[in-house]
């Protein structure tokens, strides 16, 4: 009975354009933010942060980025892993080259570097479409991973070929390196996630977002009514890669601390993020979050239940996980192409009318 829009009128276009036009949604959003920033940091332990919160937050940014490109602009990319690698290696090079500058700035700059690389690999999108483009983005995936694997300059000629995040602090707290406290890492990622989500939401509801969606829904018509396809597609590639780069930078510097590129940023990572937005919802900011949460939680859950509780072998559980994820992808594409976010939206619409649906 709480969830009502009756009496909740928008009297200006500005009010109507809000992210949460319904008052109840707005309050819930404030409550979630409050809990995320002021309550959770005091209660989390290492296991929760490392197994759930950090991957969830970091993948959320990557999913947001890919969703802008694929969900909003309709350009399927299978190169997310490669672009995350660009973010990771960029932040590594920046951290080691300019140790005096704050690592948080480096992370943002790493996003910028990735955006440039994204534009470069987005150029073919002006000529080729659909799965030709999807396959073309695989070129980015393989080429980038190879570059970081084989060109020693990128890993500072370290003997192992790995990159390791040096210790850096922000406002006196250790942010990267082995000494990082769980709650600090959590908060850093949370800040990036919050800003990313707000920026993504603003971009997708305005002129830029509309030009992306127009390209996605019917590119020829979009061009004829005045969308510059070059600008729309490349901006989608750039902004998408910016987010993906930031997530790669965080994944390496704050979360893992050490990275071997082929293992961490391989093609499976590309698919994982793609699956997140399919399950969460293509073309939905909120969906990126649910998708990330779902695919971060599923393996943890399966492992705890099947291996921890039933005592199955880990590989059987892992194979089952593959089956479940694959099956879910197909199921969602058949039943609800807009993913969990759409289910949530439908649920809300029902709730709005409840208990008098007519």
């Amino acid at each position: 009975m709480l969830y009502r829009e009756a009496g909740d009128f928008s009297t200006t276009y500005r009010e109507d354009n809000q992210t949460f036009p319904i008052r109840f949604d707005r309050y819930r959003y404030y409550a979630v933010m409050l809990i995320a920033f002021l309550v959770i940091p005091f209660f989390v332990n290492d296991y929760w942060v490392n197994a759930i919160f950090l991957p969830f937050l970091i993948y959320s940014i990557a999913a947001l980025g890919l969703n802008i490109l694929t969900g909003y602009c309709g350009q399927v990319s299978l190169g997310t892993g490669g672009f995350m690698a660009v973010g990771a290696y960029a932040v590594y090079k920046l951290m080691t080259a300019f140790p005096d500058i704050s690592v948080l700035i480096h992370i943002v700059l790493a996003g910028g570097v990735t955006a440039l690389v994204g534009i470069l690999f987005g150029l073919p999108s002006l000529r080729i479409k659909g799965f030709y483009l999807a396959v073309a983005t695989l070129a980015a995936q393989f080429f980038l991973v190879w570059v970081f694997n084989r060109i020693p300059w990128f890993y500072n000629y370290s003997a192992s070929g790995q990159i390791n995040a040096p210790e850096r602090t922000f406002l006196g707290f250790t942010v990267t390196g082995a000494e990082t406290k769980a709650w600090v890492a959590y908060l850093v990622c949370l800040v990036f996630v919050t800003i990313s989500a707000i920026v993504a939401r603003n971009m997708t509801r305005g002129a830029l977002g509309r030009s992306w969606m127009a390209i996605r829904d019917m590119d020829i018509a979009a061009e004829i009514i005045g969308v510059n396809p070059l600008k729309a597609k490349l901006s989608a590639f750039a902004i998408s890669s910016f987010f993906v780069g930031i997530s790669g930078a965080l994944y390496f510097s704050v979360y893992l601390g050490a990275v071997e590129v082929g293992e961490v940023f391989g093609i499976n990572k590309s698919f994982l993020v793609l699956f997140m937005i399919i399950i969460g919802g293509l073309g939905s900011v909120f969906g990126s979050f649910i998708g990330a949460a779902f695919l971060v939680l599923l393996p943890v859950l399966l492992k705890n239940v099947l291996v921890g509780y039933f005592g199955w072998q880990t590989d059987v559980a892992a194979h089952l996980e593959f089956m479940i994820i694959g099956g879910l992808i197909v199921w969602f594409l058949i039943v609800e192409p807009h993913g969990l976010a759409q289910l949530w939206r439908l649920g809300k619409e029902k709730l709005r009318m409840w208990p008098f649906p007519y």
Binding site: F131, A139, A221, G326, I329
Partner: protein, 328 residues
Amino acid sequence: MPEQLFFTIEVILNGLMAGVLYSLVALGFVLIYKASGIFNYAQGVMALFAAMTLVGIMEGRIPFAHLINAILGTKIHHFGWHVNAVLALILTMGVMLLLAWLVQKVIFKHLVNQEGIILFMATIGLAYFLEGVGDLMWGGDIKMLDVGIPQGLNLWIDETTYNMFDYGFFIDNLDIYATVIAAILVFVLVGFSQYTKQGRAMRAVADDHQAALSVGVSLNFIWIMVWTLAGFVALVAGIVWGTKSGVQFSLSLIALKALPVLMLGGFTSIPGAIVGGLIIGVGEKLFEFAVGPLIGGATENWFAYVLALLFLVFRPQGLFGEKIIERV
């Protein structure tokens, strides 16, 4: 310097033979794409699955043994018999037929008239699912596959060329057999699609679903048929690759090799798949041979993709694809 020249020729020959195999995998893609508009990312995993099934049947493994053991606490693994290669091959073909039927029934029947890119993502889901099923069914270990194809250096070629040029060409028997098998299969498939009733129906469906329906072609039948054909092609590719380097996860990555072939040759063109495969096979071997050592090696991972990408930027419809006229 004839030595250098011969070495280059040898590289080209090896590239051609690798290329034939790429073509074979690419053909599986083209078949399904032409008839149903589905770009089947799962083709590679189908090859892996087919090879696993073949090994599993030959060695008399119990399907889902690990799962059964995990649930019931038993310790079963083998039936205790060995199946002859030919019989196992026929049984595996049966499994692939069943798989084709299931794929059509459970997945793509519900996705008719969806956009290509949605279908593509569905096949990525299928690939994951099938990978999980394969591992769960037959175990995730690396399996040896031996159906009687000879392997190792072909001594006759080595000796003959040594006598002629003073330089022995190193060519693997398996590669020769694989090339012959692939070439035969390519001919059979082309013949099938050109000269049989079903082949004609398949091309009709490829041209226009509605029109084909209206003259009494059963779409369902054709789709199951192409998935079965693709399954057989996957089986052959799986046998060749599995014999070469064991049946393991990396086998499914041959699909990734076939993708640039398709980009180069066009998704709808059978000759395109063949020529594209050869170009990529030779191209990547030559590039690795000539440029690889200068820039760190292992260029085979990406060369094909970058080549195809550059090519597409200049000719978006591929080598043999039709020119795209856009309409509104």
